[in-house]
Amino acid sequence: MVYIDDIRLPNMHFAGILRSPHPHARIVSIDLTRARRAEGVEFALTGAEAAEHTDPIPHFISPLAFGGKSTDVRCLALGKVVYAGEPVAAVVADSRQNAEAAIELIDVEYEPLPFVIDGDEALAADAPRLYEDWDDNVVIQIPFGGGDPAAAFADAEHVIEDELQIQRYSTQPIEPRGYIADWDKSARSYTFYGASQNPHPLKWVLSRALRVKESQVRVIAPAVGGAFGLKMHGHPEESLVCLLSRLSGKPVKWIEDRSETLLIGAREQTHRFKVGFNSQGKISALKDHFVANVGALGAPPGWGMAFLTGMSIPTGYKIENVDVLVTVATTNKSPWNAARGYGKEATNLVMERIIDLVARSLDMDPVEVRRRNLIESHEFPYKTTGGLNIDSGDYHAALDKAVEMIGLDDVRAEQMRLLQEGRHLGVGFAFELTPESGDIPGTLVGGFDTSTVKMSPSGEVTVLTGVTTPGGGNDTSILQIVVDELGVTMADASILQGDTLTTPYGFGNYSGRSMVTGGNAAYLAACDIRVKLVEVASRILETDNTDVELGGGFARRISDPSRSIPIADVAYTIYTLAFATATGVEPPLESTRTYLPGNIQQTPDADGRINIYPTYSNAVHVAIVEVDIETGKVDLQRYGVVHDCGTIINPRFVEGQMEGAIAMGVGAALMEHSIHDPETGVLTTNGFKSYLMPRASDLPMIETMHQVTPSPYTALGLKGAGEAGIGGAQAAVSNAVHNALAPLDITIRKMPLSPGTVLHAIKYREKELKK
């Protein structure tokens, strides 16, 4: 395994990047004189100079494509900065130390401007505006929904209105971002090594920003130590490092500092919702108008998360009158990037809180309210008001399994017993729908992918695929599919990913797509090769080709397994006896196939809805917590999940994904929070002593149970298994905390449920009750 920081090129130099200390300021002047004279410095660059050599970075998902507003994002700020942490100038030096020392010698004069970091405040008419050519701070407003919400609310027996503020938080892979660019003067081409999730689309982005042809850029993404969306592209440092290499004539490396990783935001949304239902707990109408504070508009795909939060409402619930309005606001916080869950985690959190609020207002069992509203297994495929065409599932069975797994009756009895002692135990459920393997029309967020399978004359198998691995094991799982199909062993197979020169064009990893697209494509390619192997083996074994099976490195007669031949010999025959034994079987043993899953609908239907997801995994989560009402601290005691991602290739990897996502969701529910100082607009949670994440000792053993409902729209029945878990865990824990506090009748409207927030709510409620 080689990570970016392990790569050392001859004569490699290091980039130092000066970042703005102000959230909003005009750049009056930049003086590089002192920096240029500093020890070891080869080169220094301002934004104005960079702009002479580069074009704006193409947006991963341009808001323009959906009727919104956009802005030019550049590798170094030009004229003004719109967030604290924005790159302003850069140097190249012979060591990281000298590069960091030199940026301190860059003299920048700023003229600070009024700034805004709150999403609601940014929408006010007199709010400071980030982009002078916009007439407000709204990137886009998008409605979703259907039916007749107004009439349904008018008819509803009960209506609840409430609010939920989801905090800004991010993802923190163990390996931060890192890039090395090496401009070859004679070949006039860049080799770019980067911790990237999407090498092929990144190649396109770099070529646009750097004004070269795609053929002049080779992107190599070696092993990536965790990604979670953070390593999707559009970051200014990507093209900056390339430009620095070209202008300095040196290979240039840049490795992100943790404080820089923590700048990248995601997920901050304030939901204001209204739900109409009857006394049986059946929900008839839902309204959710929410504001997403995406910070300054960056070129990465961050802002699109808000779009998908809106589209995914109302998850797996059969609610037919829905009114959703997504408002994407820019503020002077640093930009978002994609974060695992890609907005759907917020949908799940909000929906599951709504279900529990309905249950509480009716004094009904929250499990029962779910049962009465979830889509039933015979109703699939089911088209939601957001346009999603949900493929398959058995949500009620999953719910029953979760209830049984946790022993709900015993838990409730224990809860009553402890309450007598003044202790607050709570149990919370959450249903989670995770649309996976998305395709966003008109963008390089593709819903298909391509794999090549090759077998050499010695029987070695090589797989090349356009999907990349962020370290979750899709490389192994894809090989497993191929090896099973070709009857060879894992020892004879290898896989190559991430190098744009060798792998077929593909979109990389996001949206739980690697197995659905790359895995299925590899399966199709392996099938092509299998047909040739079986045909030639049947000739050698003097039998019919229906009488041949492949396994354990051998082809053998089904009717007489003692008649067998090594698969390597069959391969050798195909390459060497093409005009005799293998006649009519076209060499080489190589096939490149693309898998396009079913169910994606790029063209809007009569109601203007598209379906960007082929497949929908689901899960039921259940959490048990104890809340210390004297301190507000939440102790997570048990956690169970019933997960359905269709056909499972490798249960260990599926469970690994689920456990990791649940840990993230628990972090989101209880502690992870990117906080900006309201006075300065600067991020204060810039290290792991202030940005808290869960440790192993904060988590109970996660009890996992699988349910398998294959997808009818993918070849192997696979659904995705990369994103599920976050919203489910966030919601289950939050519902459990509220259940524990039910005797006090408390609703907490601000995430995360840190001890301070929980205690504040308890104290506030105690005061209310005294009055």
Binding site: R96, Q97, E100, A101, E104, E630, T631, K633, L670, M671, I675, T684, T685, F688, K689, S690, L692, M693, P694, R695, S697, D698, S754, P755, G756, L759, H760, K763
Partner: protein, 276 residues
């Protein structure tokens, strides 16, 4: 990343330490280095001279008549392993986070001299009625732990002076005690700590709060207060609250009361248990 070049000295006895730190240049004393090196990496501290205490013979725990002597460079691991470590301090050391790296490198004296309000050591040393022995070119002076912590990140140490020894009265180390530490989660620094050692007459008469204020807060009790009274009194004594991204001043003040109550309750329960 550390940017500047600096002179590195590793004195081998106390006199050499005095010589090394007696200079006009900015000096950083390194005990375990878990604070200093981090600060240098973040460019928050840029010394010209770094004085590493690791060879100066300043670690270890020993008993001399009525006091226990603790070397300031004693690591948390050494505190856990030494036979003479006061049980209260062993309890404190066992709860230090940051894993084996911090326990093996971080030292009690380093934490005391840094005087970071949420750390365990300041409150713990005040709970133990420790005396801090300071040395400079002018000789030795002794300062009670209560007077050593002047403000957040500020101690009674003067330029050219270092912490040579920590003395703990033995009588205080043999009695029933409780140490309550509240953290948000495993990865969080302490929010509030409360230490209570029973008095000679077998009552809970003194609680020391760490983390809630800029310096440790001593809560003196008559011994017969109700839990509500203890909580209220404690909260009223937090006059210079500490606040950071993990918990604001209000929360810390409130939790100080709660933790003080829990510490006293634990001590009272043990005393009752012994009497039975």
């Amino acid at each position: 990343m550390i940017l500047d070049r600096f002179e590195y000295l590793r004195p081998s006895n106390v006199d050499e330490v005095v010589t090394a730190i007696t200079t006009e240049d900015e000096v950083a004393i390194i005990s375990g280095g878990t604070w200093v090196v981090q600060q240098m990496g973040q460019h928050l501290r840029r010394p010209k001279v770094v004085v590493d205490l690791s060879a100066a013979g300043l670690s270890g725990v020993s008993t001399n008549q009525d006091t226990i002597s603790i070397g300031p460079s004693t690591t948390y691991t050494q505190l856990l392993e030494a036979g003479d470590t006061p049980p209260f301090l062993r309890k404190v050391a066992s709860g230090i986070t940051g894993g084996i790296q911090i326990r093996n490198a971080g030292t009690i004296g380093g934490s005391a001299c840094f005087a970071y309000p949420p750390s365990d050591a300041p409150g713990a040393l005040v709970t133990l009625n420790a005396t801090m022995v300071l040395r400079s070119g002018d000789g030795q002076r002794k300062v009670a732990a209560t007077d050593f912590f002047l403000d957040a990140l500020t101690t009674a140490l003067r330029p050219g002076e270092f912490l040579e020894e920590i003395l703990v009265p033995i009588a205080d180390t043999e009695r029933i005690f409780s140490y309550q530490k509240f953290r948000n989660v495993t990865g969080s620094t302490p929010i509030v700590t409360a230490g209570c050692i029973a008095s000679e007459d077998g009552l809970a008469k003194r609680v020391v709060i760490g983390g809630a204020a800029t310096t440790p807060v001593v809560v003196d009790l008559a011994g017969d207060e109700s839990e509500d009274e203890i909580a209220d009194l404690t909260r009223s004594l937090i006059s210079h609250p500490w606040s950071d991204a993990l918990a604001n001043a209000n929360y810390r003040r409130h939790t100080a009361g709660t933790m003080a109550t829990r510490a006293v309750r634990a001590v009272r329960e043990q005393i009752e248990g012994e009497e039975r």
